[in-house]
């Protein structure tokens, strides 16, 4: 849909709907924390940001003819390689996969004793990976500074011209 639609408003709304559906998929796959982060950030904030960008730039995509063959070949090549990579993986939902065999169960056992929080994901995020979460906020701060620096020059330039 996003390929053929010319109106960017429809494209952005569909992208928001996609985020919401993906949040539901996360719930199905037991990742409730990820699901409501995705619903708030992906379907909410990201859609609002894109709408704001659209309002400041253009609403309708220009009609352009781009060659489609080369991208198609590249995408197919990447797809074949990735699917080849999955052939060695354990089945979806398997108990004996390498991802389940090591640290996951350890954290399930020790998180409540260490933190007293029944939600294991929150416990790991805020304590065992606390420095990483701090680094994440630094990333967000840097991005915010970048956005401010990029956008603060806008009006001055117009006045000069």
């Amino acid at each position: 849909m996003a390929l053929t639609l010319k109106h960017l408003f429809a494209v952005i709304m569909l992208s928001g709907a996609f985020s919401l559906v993906s949040a539901m998929l996360f719930v199905v796959m037991d990742a409730v924390d990820v699901a409501f982060t995705e619903a708030a950030v992906g379907a909410g904030v990201s859609t609002v940001l894109m709408l704001a960008t659209m309002a400041l730039t253009v609403r309708v995509q220009k009609e352009t003819k781009k060659p489609i063959l080369l991208p198609l070949v590249v995408v197919c090549l990447v797809g074949v390689l990735l699917i080849y990579g999955t052939l060695d993986m354990p089945n979806f939902g398997a108990f004996d996969s390498p991802a389940q065999a090591h640290l996951g169960s350890t954290y399930l056992n020790i998180t409540y004793k260490d933190m007293g929080i029944p939600n294991v994901v929150t416990g790991i995020l805020a304590s065992y990976r606390g420095y990483d979460t701090l680094g994440e906020t630094v990333v967000v701060l840097t991005a915010g500074l970048g956005v401010i620096l990029l956008l603060s020059g806008l009006k001055g330039r117009k006045d000069k011209e």
Binding site: A2, L3, L8, I12, S19, F26, D30, A31, V32, D33, V34, T37, V41, G42, V45, S46, L49, M50, T53, L56, T57, V58, Q61, K62, K66, L72, V74, V75, C76, V78, G79, L82, I83, T86, P90, N91, F92, G93, A94, F95, A99, Q100, L108, N109, T111, Y112, P118, N119, V120, V121, I124, L125, T133, V139, T142, A143, G144, L150, L151, R157
Partner: protein, 139 residues
């Protein structure tokens, strides 16, 4: 025969996520409009997240929120919490990069008065030609 079917159904979720990822990649590569490129990048990103979460899923498992406080209840299976933690971080970093990309688009539109890749490239080439000509005239 049965084991083949088992293999295909066991890997089908991964393949669906990969196809979704490829559609995102295709939008990024083949569309000229910069806002559409960002949308494609978002689809790409979300499908990678889905793939990652699917690795941590266990059949018959539940969300990793402990039902009884003493944990070790053998009757309850919890899905692996570690992929969830990693993806939570990745989602927030993803929105930060999206915001920066959108700000760049606004700036590009300010300078070039367009958000189409073709037009921007054409203008850049024209500028280069003019610049080269000026240098030749001066020397």
């Amino acid at each position: 025969m049965d084991s083949n079917l088992n293999f295909i159904f066991g890997h089908l979720p991964y393949w669906l996520f990969i196809i979704l990822m490829l559609s995102g990649l295709f939008i990024v590569v083949s569309r000229g409009n910069l806002i559409k490129k960002i949308v494609g990048l978002n689809i790409f990103q979300t499908s990678v997240f889905m793939f990652y979460i699917s690795i941590g899923k266990m059949k018959g498992g539940t969300a990793p929120i402990l039902l009884d406080k003493s944990a070790n209840n053998a009757a309850v299976i919890y899905s692996n919490p570690l992929p969830h933690v990693l993806i939570l971080t990745a989602i927030v970093v993803g929105i930060a990069t999206t915001a920066l990309g959108l700000a760049l688009i606004i700036k590009i539109r300010e300078e070039y008065d367009t958000v189409e890749e073709d037009d921007i490239q054409k203008m850049d080439q024209n500028d280069l030609k003019k610049y080269n000509k000026k240098n030749v005239m001066e020397t």
